[in-house]
Symmetry: C2
DNA sequence: TATTGTTATACTCTATAACTATA
DNA sequence: TATAGTTATAGAGTATAACAATA
């Protein structure tokens, strides 16, 4: 059980507020770090990220995930297909549905983005003291739990 | 100097990656918690946030801040003015410029949003153990430094 | 003459409604 | 008959170009 050695900064109310502002600020900066070989819209980036996690999704699933109506998702996917980022294929059993998958190019792009962001974060981390990095190392899994649904 | 008592989870590379994913995930959830009495577009929300920090900005400043062209910002501000969220007034010395400020209603809305998000975070924090909260208490100022430009 | 904001116009993106194919 | 996706059409938002007022 860790002793509270460093400064006891905040009450429980203050802690929420401090975490809110720093998390939002940091995320904005992380989001800014990306490789835009194609210049993607916000929704296209969202589709890319969703498919990166779930591997294959139908048009309908993508539409609800991105909070967009089906006709709009049809268009978004068509544009991304022309850009060589996704591919359509028929659903295994239900011939009404269309399954959308990432192309190799899209996978490369996603990996490049993650790498870019990690590199940026690593240079920021290098500017901290070893003690501060230790604190973050312990905090990382807690933040992970906090971010879990 | 704090002893490393808890699990030593990650290498420096892994730390960046873990922080990236948890920060992004957490920020998405925080952003989702908001009071939408008026239903605002992303850009309107951006203007609201910018004016919340800087108090008064010209059309041009808002345009560059929101990465939008001046004619678009003219339109956005006009819509928000009709919605009673902002007010225009002439610049003190330079009569070409227009200064935009938040109305009282907008200030209330911003405060309500912050409160809503903090409440949501507090209920999430309550589900952690006291030890985990201590870790976050120590991590908060470090995250603050990390998020600083 | 340069700069700030606005107006006019064209383009892109999204939503609603109607349509096709499949369950 | 209901559901998944697409097509057609209309509305909202943005950008480029042209303009008015001020520096």
């Amino acid at each position: 059980m860790p002793e509270v050695v460093a400064q006891q900064v905040k009450s429980d109310v203050g802690l929420a507020s401090a975490l809110r502002s720093s998390t939002l600020r940091l995320s904005r900066q992380i989001r800014r770090q990306r490789v835009d070989s194609h210049d993607l819209t916000a929704n296209q980036l969202g589709v890319l990220g969703a498919l990166g996690k779930h591997d294959a999704m139908t048009i309908g699933e993508l539409a609800t995930h991105e909070q967009v109506k089906p006709p709009s998702m049809t268009r978004i996917v068509s544009n991304m297909e022309e850009a060589g980022l996704v591919a359509r294929r028929p659903h295994e059993t239900d011939k009404r549905q269309i399954v959308v998958e990432l192309t190799d190019a899209a996978h490369h792009l996603l990996r490049a983005n993650r790498r870019r962001r990690d590199e940026w974060l690593q240079t920021k981390l290098k500017k901290l003291t070893p003690e501060e990095r230790d604190i973050l190392r312990k905090a990382a899994p807690v933040l992970e739990r906090l971010a879990a649904p």
